[in-house]
Amino acid sequence: MTDNQRRILEMLAAKKISVEEAERLLALTGQPTGGETGAFETAQVQKPKPKYLRVVVTPPKAENGSEARTGIVNVRVPLTLIRAGLKLRAFIPPDKADQVNEALRSKGLDFDVRNIRDEDLEQLVDALSDLEVEVSDEEGAKAVRVYVE
């Protein structure tokens, strides 16, 4: 809340202005007075940050169909672990970095690992929040799920 908005509300509380005038003045400050737009923005801001990368593999359904589906692989990797692992690239000695670059080039990836910046990696990890991979079997049941939570 800005100073102007606070001042308007104080004037309203002191009954120096009417509710309609307060509403008009609040609208003029450029901020929504409430309603759907404000609620939407609040929802955007309060979106929780993902903490874990999940990999879940479920087995195919039992042939008689009576057994419940049970996860056979259930992996939960903290995103902080991914960040910490990516920071270890700083310890690659210069001559080894050349070898890594050469190996990448032979696979068709032409870039220098020394040029990767921390911001790029942060963006990469942040972008994982929108990741969701689902592999379904022939019956349409989800067999493999990779997602963040």
Partner: protein, 94 residues
């Protein structure tokens, strides 16, 4: 500041045998801290020796980096079951 995991849980079992480990890591960390403080002077000398060869940075910052990696392992959970559900492998850091 992240805290290192305080408990390591390992569980392996199949039809014939069971193995379960519940390791209170929080009891080990004070000893690791003392060990690190004792090793600190040796680490500094090693850094000076290896700096010319390009490994000094690795020696100096490798310890803190590994500690960061260890701290980040809190919450890691790996669980693998066989389809028959008779075999289970579970590794969990809490």
């Amino acid at each position: 500041m992240m805290c290192p995991p305080s408990i390591l849980r390992v569980r392996v079992h199949n039809q014939r045998w069971h193995f379960g480990l519940w390791l209170p890591l929080f009891l080990i960390w004070p000893f690791v801290l003392v060990f690190g403080l004792v090793l600190w002077p040796i680490l500094l000398v090693s850094t000076a020796v290896f700096w010319g060869k390009g490994w000094g940075k690795l020696v100096l910052l490798g310890g803190p980096a590994l500690l960061g990696l260890l701290c980040a392992m809190r919450g890691l959970n790996v669980e693998v079951k066989q389809p028959s559900e008779e075999t289970l492998i579970l590794v969990s850091f809490r």
